[in-house]
Every structure is written in C-alpha cells, then in structure tokens.
Amino acid sequence: MNATFADVMMQMFRQHLAVLPVLLPSLTAVFMLLIGDRADALPRLRRIALVSVALGLMFALKLALEADSGALRVYRVGDWPAPFGIVLVVDRLSAMMLVLTQAVALPVLWYAAGGWDTRGRHFHALFQFQLMGLNGAFVTGDLFNLFVFFEVLLIASYVLLIHGQGRERFRVGLQYVAINLAASALFLIGVSLIYANAGTLNMADLAQRVPLVEGDAAVVLKAAALLLLVVFGVKAALLPLHLWLPATYAAASAPVAALFAIMTKVGVYSIVRVHAVIFGADAGGSALVAGPWLLPLGLATGLLAVCGVLSARSLPRLVAWLTVASVGTVLAGVGLFSPAGLSAALYYMVHSTLVVAALFLLAELLAAQRGDAADRIEPGPPLAQPALLGLLMLLAAASAAGLPPLPGFIGKLMVLQASSGIASQPWVWAVVLTVGFLTLLGLARAGSVLFWSERPELAGSGTPAGASPRMLAAPVALLGAGVLMSVLAGPLTRYTDAAAAQLADRRSYVQAVLGVEGVITTRPYGFPAPDGEGRP
C-alpha cells in the first residue's frame, strides 16, 4: 500500500517536474501569507523559506541534469494541446537559468534572514513571489505568458525595492515603477502586433510561422520585434535604457539588490529567446532583426558602464554600474548571433550574476564596519576585519575584471574567441579588453581607498565586532560558486555550447512542442473579408 503510494507520488513528481519551480514558490508564498508575519512567526517563516528555496534548487538541478541529455521537457498546462494551451518548455537554457536563480536566491535569503527581513512586512512571501515570477519567465514557452510572469516578478520587485523604507528608496521606487509600467505597455503592443501578423504567441509555433510571413506583414512583425527589444532592453539595462538601474540598485537594501542581479538577466534571457531564436538567422524575411543594434549597443553599454564604475562615489553604486557593464559584455556576446557567441554569453552571464550578487552583500558588510563613512568611497575608520573582507573583495574584483584563472577571464576569452573572424572583431576586442582594464582600475581605486586609506582618529566609530561568520557565509558561498565555475569550466562550457546548439536547432524544438513538424495549426487571418457572408 505504502509502496504504491510512493510510486504514485514519484510518478507525479516526474510528470509535473517542469511546473514545480513555479508552483513551489507560489504555494510557499501563499502559505506564508496565511501564517502572517507577526514577530513570533519569523523563525518559522525563515525555516520555511530556506527549505523551499533549497528544494527549488534541487528541482532545478534535477531539471538541468535531465536537460543535459538533450531532451526537451514539454509540460502542457491543463493538457491542452500546443499551441492552443499554455506550454512550459525546459531546455538546457531554461534549466540553466533556473539553477542560477535558485543558486543566487539561497545565499541571499540566508543573508536576509540575518536581520534584513525584520525591517519591513512580508519580506519572505514577496521573496517567494519574486522567485515564482523569475522561474516562470524562464520556463514558459509562450510570449504572452512571458509577459504575465514579467509582471509577477515586477510587482514583487516593486515592493521588495522599497523594503526597509527610507526617502531614497521611495524616490527611486516611484521612478522604477513608472518606467516598468511604460515598458509593460510597450510589451503588450509588441506582443499583440506579433499575434496580429503571425497568428500565434507560442514560441515554437512562432519559430515555424515567422519565416513564412512576407510583405507588409513582415515589416510590422519586424517593428514588433524591435519594440520587444526596447522592452527587454529596459529590463536588461541596455544603453540607452539603463538610466534607471544604478540609482535603483544602489538604493535597494543589500539582499534585494543581490537578488535583483538576476533580474537584468531575465531581459537578456528574453532577448536570446526572441531575437536570437524566433527572429534568429533562420527567420526568413524577418531574420536577425536585432542584428544591427545588439552588438554596438552592448559594447557601448559596457564602455559607458565602466565610466560609471570609475566615477562612482559609493560602493553600491559602483557595483550597480558593474551590473550594467556585465550586461553589456553578455549582450555583445549574444549580438554576435553565432552559437559560439551565445555560449560565451551564457557562461559569462552566470558568472557575472554570482559575482555581482556577492559584491552587493560584501558592500553592506563593509559599510557596517566603517561608521559614518558607511558605503562612501572615502577614507574611513580602520575596519574590524580588513584582511578577510579585503581578500573577498579582491577575489570578487579580480573575477569581475576578468583576471585569470577566474571565470570572468574564461567568459571574456570565450567572447573574444567567438568574435574572431567577423567584421566587427577589432571593435569587440578593443571594447571588451578596455572594459576589463577600466573595471580593474575602478575596483583598485575603490579597494585602495576603502582598505588602505584609514583615518585612525575615527577608530571606534565602526562596528567593533565585525561581520559574523553567519552573514559572511552568503557572499563566500556566492564567490565559491564563482570559483567552482572555473574549476568546472570544462563541463560547464560543454553545457553552454550544447545549450547554444540546442537553441539553433529550431526543428527539434518545434517538433518537441507541437508534436508533428510542419503542421500549420492555426492561421486566423488568411480568410476572405467576411462582408456579406454574415451569420446564417
């Protein structure tokens, strides 16, 4: 009896694994809302949150191991056949993003449980809703559903951003909400234009339908794709749509900013899905519609962002600019529109997310020991733990700047290799290397001021105790994951290579989602004008 029950549960688990990364955080969040957030419930909330995120990480790893075999996991919600129902598709890229999300979320949550979650209401429930939106955006196989999950993650992020209150958070929060609402309006316009001209929003169906669209409809379709590039550019902080990011991330509380490190990657992920796959090289008349834009804008983003790194006066703002710089490098890799470029971009994206999240947490630990100087980059009182924090900072900085043998170096090397032989190679090399050098310069400047220019007369104004091992565990785990990426560079690059190859293989994707290849499922607008026919 028990054995059969266990069998049934295992079978259900296997069957529904693709939807679990979405369901688990959403159910956890609802459960947390039921518990309420009175002070005496907090230890229980923390335990539930950590267990839920750890479980999510396990599910994501299981999905990634499964995806690594090359199989596409297609989940039809409500068992409606695609493209009529909503499908969730887990391929190598989706599984990788799920693992990354959970791997960033777990240390960040651990850190937040050290005290930040007491400074506002419903932090843990919102954190879970944010994860639900992120995971949903990564597994969905439908453009409109992508919009819905964007909104889920955004609405949670609005509240998380102003977590901890304060004037500055509300000031940037208002602008953040307004910008994202305007972007959502553009998203809807783009999506409905695509529906009007391709007749579907299912990504697999679009992949086979877009190349068939010709004439005027193709022009509108291209305009819609570029509208979506603007929307995803806002999320990813692509020049010139990055203006909101530095102030917002610098104002957010440390764990929230660290979690937001993954939010820009949602924009990058969507650009990969839409502009490198649906409107990719095989898309007929609409092929590579983002081609002329992505590479130059990515490189320009990187250059502008290092200027920001050099001019930042506070550590969180410097790290926020580093986020933008990393997005620039990643999008330049995507903008090469080759499997090698995509693979490089994916590898670099994972690494930069981990490093940026760790840096946001380190910045706060550092600021806590500097008394009135706080997070400003100016001489302050001697630190309680100069050697430990200095070493962690050095490790993060070296990785962000791309010094060997850290993963930042491997990622940048892959981008450089991928660009060899194409017309824009000199530009890519010059910009990526300049960005790396200037990042190093900016971080060295910040580091030497923070760690070496002490003002002993201020001694005692900082926290004497230093950061507890418990709080330090979070950035150490994130940086450790980064170092692990270097150790496992071989298997990981094989995985990203395979992920890029899988994205280029539209036929298998269409076949897996829609069943039989080449069946034109719906074509709503090819009918003669209904004038005069009317209803019987």
Binding site: Y158, I162, R167, G173, L174, L181, V191, Y525, P530, P536
Partner: protein
C-alpha cells in the same frame, strides 16, 4: 468603425504619453492609466474588427474565423486589464507614500525642479 477605433487609441496613447512625461505624480498615474486603456483597445483590435459575431462557438455555424470574432485577443486583453489594474493600485500606494515622505508630489521629490 476602424477609423473611430484608431483615433480613440491614438488620442488615448498621445494623452497618456504626454501626461507620463509631466513632473507631477498625479499626472504620471493618469498618464499610465490612459496609456493602459489605449494599449488594451489596441490588443482588442489586433483580433480584427468583426461586427455581429461572437467568440463562442454556436451549433451549425462553420468553425472558422470568417464566422466568429477571434477570441484570443479578448482573452489577452482580459489578462492585461487585470494586471494593469493591480499595477495602478500599487503605483497609487507608492505615490501616496512618496508624497508623505517629501511633502510634495514631484516625481523627484523636489519642489523647485521644474
């Protein structure tokens, strides 16, 4: 019919964008709402305009889109309306809190910024 709808969408969007670029939070939220209405009408019209036809299958009528209006955009617009409504409510809360903090309704929190 098309021209009326197109004008309505155009006017709503134009007003929305203009208000969105104004410096007062009240104008911004009105702008976002108007923009939302414009976008919702736009999604609705992307299913092509069909007079006197419904999105639900009726017995005895051939099941093609010549005899029905496309139900897809109607489902999409429903979702968009709900999400837009939630976002407006949330924005209102942020707006009020910001006003409480700064004592004025400027988007940058500064009275003399204009």
């Amino acid at each position: 019919m098309e021209i009326v709808l197109a004008c309505a969408i155009g006017v709503l969007t134009a007003c929305g964008v203009w208000l969105l670029l104004r410096p007062r939070t009240y104008q911004v939220i009105m702008g976002l709402s108007l923009l939302g209405y414009g976008v919702n009408l736009f999604i609705f019209s992307m299913g092509r305009l069909a007079l006197d036809s419904e999105p639900v299958l009726a017995p005895g009528v051939p099941t093609d889109l010549a005899h029905y209006t496309d139900p897809m955009p109607q489902a999409l617009v429903l979702t968009a309306i709900v999400i837009g409504f939630a976002m407006t409510a949330l924005f209102l809360v942020v707006l009020l809190a910001q006003r409480g903090f700064f004592g004025n309704d400027h988007v940058d929190g500064r009275e003399d910024a204009e």
